[in-house]
Amino acid sequence: MVFWKRTLPVAITFMLGITFMLQYYVPHPASEALLREVSVWNQIIAGFAVILGVASLLQSHAQKIKRKAPGWGYSVVMYASMCSMLGFGIWSEGKGEGTAFGWLYTYTLVPLQATMFSLLAFFVASAAYRAFRARSPQATVLLLAAVLVMWGRVPLGEYLLPGIGQVSDWIMNIPNTAAQRGILIGISLGAIATSIKIICGIERAHLGGGQE
């Protein structure tokens, strides 16, 4: 059983990992056809992965309803709105224009999600007033750069202080680019190292799930 549960998955990852790592260097049509086919396969599997992600959320809400945990009524609302969206969606074959499915999307999902995120505007403002203090030289530099960029990126700022727009452009293009490039190189080395660990079976967090 250890073979099926541990050895086989590690072997599959290793073989595919090496194959597709080397595929990159091989321009031969056969190798390109392999990449084409597998990328289509992965798209299909990704579709199932979406279901997997959704299902675990549904499970936790189902348990809440079953146990009649506090606020279980909201979970019922969640299920009801999901089912109506799904029902209309299947009925209209996923087409949005002129269907009930499209209406639900435009007048519930779009305003709700956009409004949820716009709450952050208020939170940023109150945090700016109550928490963002220049508590060290570094934080001071951060806040000064923030003020320059906020000032320079709006018409009123450029109207009040001509030339500040170019200053904020320069901040974005030189010091910001330098720092982001350093971060990017560091992160990419980390990501490559992680991929190597996964291919070699050293990193196996993804193989959790199910008892040993």
Partner: protein, 279 residues
């Protein structure tokens, strides 16, 4: 003074919420119409589209969901107007499932205004799952990635895609991205191998991250946030939602700057002594 400062800092934050709400609503009701300067990174995308031959194919990837709509919707509208004016062909696609509806409606609305025909002048391929895999399969073979477009027409039957077998054959790709997958996905798994020209539009939150790619020419231009969209509208001389929002953007930015200044002013009086700072 110490007590007063402390009390002021401890102000109920709902007052601040109210200030921000008014700072947003007033300029929307009574706009000032201040001039907007166009930055080079936005102009580069505009110029590139200007230089594309009529009939050239532009792939517009709507890599966002409703949360990105406020910033990316005006951008998409401006880009579509520009492309349709120049008689480019538009192929729409999205890497985000929740972006499907928005992409579908923006495309058909703007196309209608220009009297363009679906299937000949534009089409929407729909949602491509699998992030990196989506871009790779489009780069390898468009008809394998999308057997049919969003409306169910077989890819091979679409007049717009005659002669377009993969991303290698398109003239320009612009990803309007709200996060990952987005511009980086289109570069790393797309342009890197298939060699098309790539431009980017993104929410302001992710814009700073793309400057290294802009600097190396990995993306040939960047439209960042509502401000970027407003600059594009200025270039097109077509006032839209982005230009209309710029005055409110000005007031809210200055409100935040004032709040930050007040916070730091008051905290001078309340700063506890004896706390070590690290770094």
């Amino acid at each position: 003074m110490h007590d007063l400062a402390r009390r002021l800092l401890g102000l109920d934050r709902r007052w601040i919420f109210l200030v921000i709400a008014f700072g947003t609503v007033l300029p929307l009701l009574y706009p000032l119409g201040l001039p907007i300067r166009v930055s080079p990174e936005v102009r580069k995308i505009y110029d590139y589209i200007e230089r594309l031959p009529p009939g050239g194919v532009l792939v517009l990837s709507f890599d966002f969901e409703p949360a990105g709509k406020p910033e990316l919707f005006p951008m998409a509208v401006a880009l579509l107007h520009h492309a349709f004016q120049n008689n480019l062909k538009i192929v729409g696609v999205t890497l985000w499932p929740a972006g499907t509806g928005l992409a579908e409606s923006i495309l058909s609305q703007v196309a209608q205004e220009h009297g363009k025909v679906r299937g000949i002048d534009y089409t929407f391929l729909g949602y491509a799952p699998g992030e990196a895999n989506a871009v790779i399969s489009m780069g390898q073979d468009l008809s394998a990635a999308f057997p049919a477009d969003h409306y169910g027409t077989k890819i091979t039957d679409l007049p717009i895609l005659q002669g377009i077998r993969s991303l290698r054959d398109v003239h320009y790709v612009i990803s309007l991205s709200v996060g990952f997958p987005g511009i980086d996905t289109w570069y790393v798994y797309g342009k890197e191998k298939y060699g098309f020209e790539l431009g980017g539009g993104c929410t302001a939150v992710s814009a700073p991250r793309f400057y290294p790619l802009l600097n190396t020419g990995q993306i040939n231009g960047l439209i960042g946030g509502l401000r970027g969209a407003a600059e594009y509208e200025v270039l097109l001389a077509r006032e839209g939602k982005a230009i209309a929002g710029m005055d409110a953007q000005s007031t809210t930015h200055f409100l935040i700057i004032v709040l930050l200044a007040l916070c730091n002013f008051f905290s001078v009086f309340t700063r506890q002594t004896g706390r070590t700072r690290y770094r």
